[in-house]
């Protein structure tokens, strides 16, 4: 098959294959490199549209943060007693989304799940961009953001250090560590492909840029040997982080004494929730991307099916978490805890609570069925629902626990303002913008890893130009 044909139509090989038949090393490289090196005028129109929409949505963040810094956090809907609002909800949501990438790359790497290759680069990028969104919120959320660096331990002339008992300080460490390791992991994974790009560059500036980024990669056996070791080590390093980050984020709540927050189940429940939302976001992004860049033959139904299964699995853990929360609030015999759960289910925010149950538990049960997992629109729909559901989960945790706590006299209500929405849509826009740019300017599927998979699957086709006649099982 010629590259032109591959470009024109991509045939999904179905749920058994992780790569469509007809690929050899060269066509894999051609196909993926083409998404980056294709001339500007050949860029799919949907890409431009998405870019424009994302850019416009991002203006919410620009305007929202400008107004915020100018006036103060009072432009949001936060009040006493609900002193944390969308900023924290969004922070936890984005951090959660940022879990899938590392999980796919690192844990599945260690577990030798080779179906991960087509989506790991993509999800790692998603991780980075999601964590970047999340990372903005703690700063935006502060009353005096210009003093945010006080949370970082540095030898200050005031002889003051951060207060180490506060989970917010742990957050600083957890999130920055995660961001750093994810960035390095992602970049290291990119180096061989960047070299490929450099070699195939059609313009001088492309060659120069990719050349610099590929850090002198020549593809020698020694490079590969060291590379493999480094990548494995980083994978090992990143794996505990997947668990630690959201555990620490959950401590923000679990350490407090608020009913609905003060729960020991929070760490595993948050991690599961994070992975759940992360996979949902990967599916949400992968489905349009593979369509527009005709990558169905590389991101196959098999991938989508696997991700559907993972969503189902993590979703069930999350459901278990909800159940345990309800059970423990009853079993504790603590009237505040019992009231808290009743208030969630029947109080003023009950609509959002039941929406959350529907989005996160009921609808995803359809993933038991292959007809949903292997049907692109249906799966896309479920992934969107889970994204919304996971956002609602954080909303319920943050808002409903705060709005009615111990003394009835202090109860209040939280109503987000347009600036809350502006910042939320703004970060979604910014995230999409980064993702859209990423799929166009960097190889969004790992070329060398797909070639490696190809090698494992059918070593005989490695050198000749013939497409394999039979399908490649996994």
């Amino acid at each position: 098959m010629k590259i032109e044909e591959l470009e024109q139509k991509a045939i999904d090989p179905g749920p058994d294959k992780i790569i469509a038949p007809g690929f050899n090393y060269a066509t894999v490289t051609d196909k993926i490199a083409n998404t980056v090196l294709m001339p500007v005028e050949k860029t799919p129109r949907q890409w431009w549209v998405t870019l424009l929409i994302a850019f416009m949505a991002m203006q919410g963040l620009v305007a929202g943060s400008f107004w915020l810094f100018y006036k103060g956090v009072g432009v949001w809907g936060i009040v006493i007693p609900i002193a944390w609002g969308y900023a924290i909800v969004n922070f936890v949501w984005w951090i959660g989304i940022g879990h899938a990438g590392t999980l796919i790359s690192a844990i599945l790497l260690l577990l030798k799940q080779d179906w991960r290759t087509s989506i790991n680069r993509f999800s790692e990028a998603m991780t980075l961009f999601a964590v970047a969104q999340a990372g903005m919120f703690p700063i935006l959320h502060m009353g005096r953001p210009w003093l945010g660096y006080w949370l970082i331990p540095y030898p200050s002339s005031m002889w003051l250090w951060p207060q180490p008992r506060s989970p917010l300080v742990w957050d600083v460490f957890a999130v920055t560590t995660y961001l750093t390791v994810s960035l390095i992991f992602w970049f290291i994974g990119l180096v061989p492909d960047l070299a490929t790009m450099r070699d195939r560059a059609k313009h001088k500036w492309q060659a120069l840029t990719f050349g610099m980024l590929s850090m002198g990669w020549r593809g020698s056996a020694k490079h590969w040997s060291r590379y493999q070791m480094a990548y494995l080590l980083l994978g090992g390093l990143a794996t505990p982080l997947v668990v630690s980050v959201h555990t620490v984020v959950s401590f923000d709540f679990a350490i407090s004494l608020l009913p609905g927050w003060h729960t020991t189940i929070f760490p595993p429940y948050f991690v599961a929730g994070a992975i759940y939302s992360g996979f949902a976001m990967v599916v949400t992004l992968a489905i349009p991307a593979r369509k527009w860049f005709h990558l169905e033959d590389l991101i196959t139904m098999r991938h989508l099916d696997c991700m559907g299964k993972l969503m189902l699995g993590t979703g069930l853990i999350v459901a278990y978490g909800y159940m345990m929360e309800a059970f423990m609030s009853w079993y504790s015999g603590n009237p505040h805890e019992m009231f808290m759960y009743m208030n969630r289910a029947t109080g003023p925010y009950r609509f959002f609570f039941w929406m959350l149950i529907v989005c996160n538990i009921l609808i995803p049960q359809s993933l038991w069925s292959r007809k949903v997992r292997q049907n692109v629109p249906r799966l896309f729909f479920v992934s969107l629902v889970v994204n919304v559901g996971m956002w609602l989960e954080r909303f319920i945790i943050v808002i409903t626990s705060l709005h009615r706590d111990f003394l009835p006299s202090s109860w209040g209500m939280y109503y987000p303002t347009q600036w809350d929405w502006a910042v939320l849509t703004g970060t979604i826009g910014f995230f999409l913008l980064l993702m859209t740019l990423f799929v166009r300017v960097l190889p969004s599927i790992s070329i060398f890893e797909v070639r490696e998979v190809l090698h494992h699957l059918a070593p005989h086709i490695a050198d000749d130009d013939l497409a394999p006649q039979t399908g490649m099982g996994d």
């Binding site: 006036k71 103060g72 956090v73 009072g74 432009v75 809907g77 936060i78 009040v79 006493i80 007693p81 609900i82 002193a83 944390w84 959320h141 502060m142 009353g143 005096r144 953001p145 003093l147 945010g148 006080w150 949370l151 003051l160 250090w161 951060p162 207060q163 008992r165 506060s166 989970p167 917010l168 300080v169 600083v172 923000d252 350490i255 407090s256 004494l257 608020l258 009237p335 009231f339 705060l402 706590d405 111990f406 003394l407 009835p408 006299s409 202090s410 109860w411 209040g412 209500m413 109503y415």
Partner: protein, 1038 residues
């Protein structure tokens, strides 16, 4: 001025050419050296008639000059002149830069003066408190006193004398007034009228009386929109002469209030609340001996797991006070079995704080209070009294009263018609209370009169053209006089009218002359307290905006223009105390804030039972007019502290509402936030509905004082103006109001949305009998699960020095909210405005929670002031990422504003939600005049910073510094946080828990002591003493 001649250009050119060296010139006129220009240069104030050339005015001028020089010598409290700061060559007495000075003065509300002590920082009054030596205060103050200092600095106050809206001068006004005087003298004063508020100032009374002597046909009218004309007429009815009734609740075991809110408003409320609370306070004789702490026991090893069996025992004995008390706290008091309390019956239409304290609360329509009073009188066997059957408990109450003859009292509210007052007087006489729990004196007013009648006469005369000069001293009659009199229209028929007022307001735009009034903190005057005691009003600062006092206006009218208020007051007192020791008398009275032996002697009067007042047809819904709880008759409408102060009953701010009972709301198909049009006697206003549990059915209450159009930036267009419905015939209540829903969705700014305790028990209450049987009733709460004594392996922090703590006695707290404003004033707490309060962002460091209990038609009301609990295990400290909130060595949970980055985690983790956050820049950094009101010892917080109650750390540290200088421990009672200082009932106690003799330690050792949410193991330092009710067993059973 003459017309300017044309310039001689040739001359100018010649001059320029002939000039040697640099020649600076400003204008062509200067160059031309015209005559006009020369004249202009010579006349410094060109275009104005030089005062000193005119012989008559020169005298005035010199007088003024001389007087101000004299003034400069006698007072240390003038505004500091703007000049280079150099050290004093001779330092004023007692003055230490950086330390405040305190001056005694007095403020009047409705004519009744309360002695105050005002804090002055470098010549700026910053804080107003009660004068402990004044019998009407005993050191307490209410929120009007507290907030008055903000009014003084109000940038909207009148700043210039104006004539027909044009800026004029005091001298021109004096000239005009002089002309008025000349005219009036010719007619023997005919046509000259003076309209004042209630005046009890002996000096001002003497001034006006002197004037009236000079011009016998002139008249003095008084009108107070929320005055006491009913009490006056009631006294006339019962005794045939005006008297001033003074109640002595400290001797009353049974109190019946006929719609009298004596605990929170009206004359004497501070002292009444104190007396009432003293009879309610319960102090048990206890000796508190805690078990030795585990870590002090023998064989204790650090880190060892404490032995289990001790836990519950230790808890029961010791942990009731969550902070460990010192060994051997002894409290003096009675054993619980012998506890006594007074009993309060309240009959009222509209819930008041007094009603909230009632042991028996009867919801009665305002118009039916008289019927209820007749029932009671009949049950008491008053001759001529016939029962109406409205109050079925009348017999039981009567028996209770009769069992306490001479130790009970019946109080009639100022809003009730004269007959009710007269009946109350008669009942008190019959019960032998006169002279014991109620005493009568001569009226304290300088002009005792039926003020409504007085105003009605004035308006009639104005309309009849009998008034050619009207001098209005204070008040705001155009806004606040009854709608049927139409004062504004009548004013147009008066040729010369002048108005002296603090603000350019609704009245000032209608009068020809407006003179800005000096605030009482800027004035010399004197005033009588409720018992007649006189206090001097002395200025803390020179008038900020050149305001004048009534003394000066009357002096001018009396032909003494330029006589200064200081001289007026001093001259008057020289005649009163004509003795060689006058200087000593004067200085001492000024220093102490009271003139000794000026309280009135009681007079013997005999009350006769009145006739029932002619029954008005009780048709339709009743409308009740009340002064607003926080902005009163509207005179405080421009005061942000009072606008933002939650009204004690419904915690609403920045608004007034149509209060309506739940049943009537249902019947009328109305809901809270609906907007209704009230139609009453042909007039209409539109206002939002508030469903008020405990309100009388078929009755609505509207509060006066809102809907101002010219109050100032703060008070304009807030709420609706209920004065528009109020007539002189039915000023307090009337029938036949029609409600028509015209809209909905009015947004109320309330600080408490949840009305009930929702199954929790923040307020713990027991009946007196229950308490006698089980003094530890506070432990019976649902929240109160026994905690293991040791939830941590670490030993407690040992407080070797001080260990501050606070108790709040719910038995004594009447919910008056004086503490809230006192705290706001002391701690520079920002006002956030209606919008922000609506969202829930008010900044008060201490709030008074209000809970309803029982049925909606007549619920019990409970108040609970909540400041920071200063937890020993403070949840906020644990979660702050930058250590901006930390524990001090004497146990206070401190807030370090400079370090705060605003994550707000502390607030989330605070179970009491006492932390307040500057979501936006709430402190006013830009209004210069408000800089002065701030306490220089407290940081003005910027945006993005958390804040909360500090137990007034600035006062603690000031006392610490003083005690360390004197090498001693701080004595109990030496540190008084602002809330404690203001509290009329001494419900709040503060002190060192380590000192077994301190009041706070003794209170914490009481069986009623409990802490809020103690199951959370926060171990608060602020604890509560459970409330006791003393219901009549006879009624309680039935």
């Amino acid at each position: 001025m003459k017309e300017k001649p044309a310039l001689d250009l040739n001359k100018i050119r010649a001059r320029l050419e002939s000039a040697q060296g640099p020649l600076y010139w400003k204008s062509l006129e200067e160059l031309a050296e015209t005559e006009e220009f020369q004249a202009f240069v010579e006349d410094e104030f060109a275009g104005r008639s030089p005062e000193w050339i005119h012989p008559a005015n020169r005298r005035n001028f010199l007088k003024l000059m001389g007087a101000s020089l004299a003034m400069a010598g006698v007072t240390a409290c003038t505004k500091q002149p703007k000049e280079t700061i150099v050290p004093y060559v001779r330092q004023p007495e007692d003055f230490v830069p950086g330390l405040p000075l305190y001056y005694a003065t007095a403020m009047q509300m409705g004519g009744v003066g309360t002695g105050l002590l005002v804090t002055s920082h470098l010549g700026r009054p910053t804080k107003v408190d009660g004068n402990p030596d004044h019998p009407g205060s005993l050191g307490a103050s209410d929120y009007f006193h507290q907030a008055s200092v903000l009014t003084m600095y109000d940038p909207d106050r009148g700043k210039a004398v104006s004539n027909k809206g044009q800026i004029s001068s005091w001298v021109s006004f004096q000239a005009a007034l002089g002309a008025t005087r000349e005219r009036a003298l010719l007619k023997n004063g005919d046509g000259l009228r003076i309209l004042t508020e209630t005046v009890t100032s002996p000096t001002l009374s003497a001034q006006i009386q002197g004037l009236l002597k000079e011009m016998p046909s002139a008249k003095w009218h008084s009108y107070e929109p929320c005055g006491r004309h009913n009490a006056y007429r009631g006294a006339m009815l019962a005794f045939g002469r005006p008297v001033n009734s003074i109640y002595h609740f400290d001797q009353a075991d049974v109190i019946v209030s006929l719609d009298a809110d004596f605990l929170s408003c009206g004359p004497g409320n501070l002292i009444y609340a104190r007396q009432f609370a003293d009879k309610r306070r319960v102090m048990t004789n206890v000796t508190h001996t805690p078990q030795p702490k585990e870590d002090e026991q023998e064989g204790y090893q650090a880190g060892a797991i404490p032995s289990r069996p001790n836990q519950s025992a230790g808890y029961a004995d010791e942990n009731r006070g969550p902070i460990n008390l010192p060994p051997q706290v002894q409290a003096q008091g009675k054993p619980p079995g012998e506890t006594t309390q007074n009993r309060l019956y309240v009959m009222e239409p509209s819930p008041s704080p007094t009603g909230g304290m009632a042991d028996h609360h009867f919801v009665v329509r305002a118009s039916e209070v008289e019927a209820v009073a007749w029932d009671l009188a009949a049950a008491l066997g008053l001759s001529g009294a016939t029962a109406t059957g409205k109050l079925k408990e009348a017999a039981a109450i009567a028996r209770d009263l009769q069992a306490h003859k001479g130790a009970c009292v019946v109080v009639a509210g100022d809003h009730q018609p004269p007959a009710v007052h007269a009946l109350a007087h008669a009942m008190n006489a019959a019960l032998g209370n006169a002279g014991k729990t109620v005493t009568y004196t001569d009226p304290i007013e300088g002009n005792p009169s039926d003020q409504l009648e007085s105003l009605r006469q004035l308006v009639a005369d104005m309309n009849a053209g009998k008034v050619d000069s009207l001098i209005i001293l204070g008040g705001n009659p155009v806004y606040s006089s009854p709608a049927d009199l139409d004062f504004a229209a009548a004013l147009k028929k008066v040729a010369v009218n002048a108005y002296l007022g603090l603000f350019p307001d609704e009245t000032s735009v209608q009068t020809t002359w407006y003179v800005p009034e000096a605030h009482y903190l800027e004035s010399w005057s004197d005033v009588r307290g409720l018992d007649g005691t006189i206090s001097f009003v002395q200025p803390l600062i020179a008038p900020l905006y050149g305001g004048k006092t009534a003394h000066e206006v009357v002096a001018t009218l009396a032909g003494n223009p330029g006589k200064l208020p200081y001289d007026v007051v001093r001259d008057y007192w020289q005649t009163q105390h004509n003795a060689p020791d006058f200087e000593i008398f004067w200085a001492k009275a000024l220093h102490d804030g009271v003139v000794p032996n000026t309280a009135f002697k009681t007079v013997e009067v005999s009350a006769k039972t009145p006739q029932p007042s002619a029954a008005k047809p009780a048709q339709g819904i009743e409308i009740v007019f009340r002064p607003d709880p926080t902005i009163w008759d509207g005179s405080f409408a421009n005061n942000g502290w009072l606008q933002e102060l939650p009204k004690p009953q419904n915690k609403m701010t920045w608004d007034n509402a149509v209060w309506i009972s739940p049943a009537t709301a249902q019947q009328q198909n109305l809901n809270t936030e609906d907007v209704v049009e009230l139609k009453y006697q042909g007039r209409t206003v539109t206002g939002p509905v508030w469903i008020m549990p405990g309100h009388a059915n078929d009755s609505v209450t509207v509060h006066l004082g809102f809907g101002r159009t010219r109050a100032g930036e703060v008070g304009n267009e807030v709420g609706f103006n209920a004065y528009l419905l109020r007539t002189s015939t039915d000023p307090n209540a009337g029938f036949g109001v029609e409600l028509r829903k015209v809209g909905g969705g009015h947004s109320f700014a309330t600080t408490q949305h949840t009305q009930t305790m929702e199954g929790t028990a923040p307020v713990r209450v027991a009946g007196l009998e229950e308490y006698k049987k089980k003094p530890q009733f506070v432990e019976e709460s649902q929240d109160d699960k026994p905690l293991p004594k040791y939830l941590t392996l670490y030993p407690d922090y040992r407080y070797e020095g001080y260990k501050w703590g606070m108790t709040i006695d719910l038995n004594a707290c009447v919910g008056c909210s004086a503490c809230v404003v006192a705290c706001q004033s002391e701690n520079n707490i920002a006002v956030v405005g209606k919008m922000e309060v609506t969202r829930g962002r008010h900044m008060h460091w201490i709030r008074v929670d209000r809970y309803f209990k029982g049925n909606w038609d007549n619920p019990e009301l409970y108040y609970q002031p909540v400041p920071c609990m200063q937890c020993e295990n403070a949840p906020c400290e644990l979660v702050c990422p930058v250590a901006a909130t930390v524990h001090s060595g004497d146990g206070i949970n401190q807030m370090v504003y400079n370090r705060c980055v605003g994550t707000r985690y502390c607030s989330n983790n605070c179970p009491y939600k006492v932390r307040r956050f500057n979501f936006l820049l709430y402190s006013d950094w830009y209004t210069e005049s408000l800089y002065g009101v701030r306490n220089p010892n407290v940081t003005v917080r910027s945006r993005g910073v958390m804040e909360k109650c500090t137990y007034c750390i600035q006062r603690i540290n000031a006392a610490k510094i003083q005690s360390e200088k004197e090498n001693r421990r701080i004595a109990d009672g030496e540190i008084v946080p602002a809330c404690v200082q203001a509290c009329p009932t001494q419900a709040i106690a503060f002190g060192d828990i380590n000192d077994p003799k301190s009041r706070v330690a003794q209170l914490k050792a009481q069986a009623r002591n409990y802490s809020l949410l103690e199951d959370l193991n926060t171990r608060p330092r602020t604890t509560y003493l459970g409330r006791l009710r003393n219901p009549n067993p006879e009624i309680e059973k039935g």
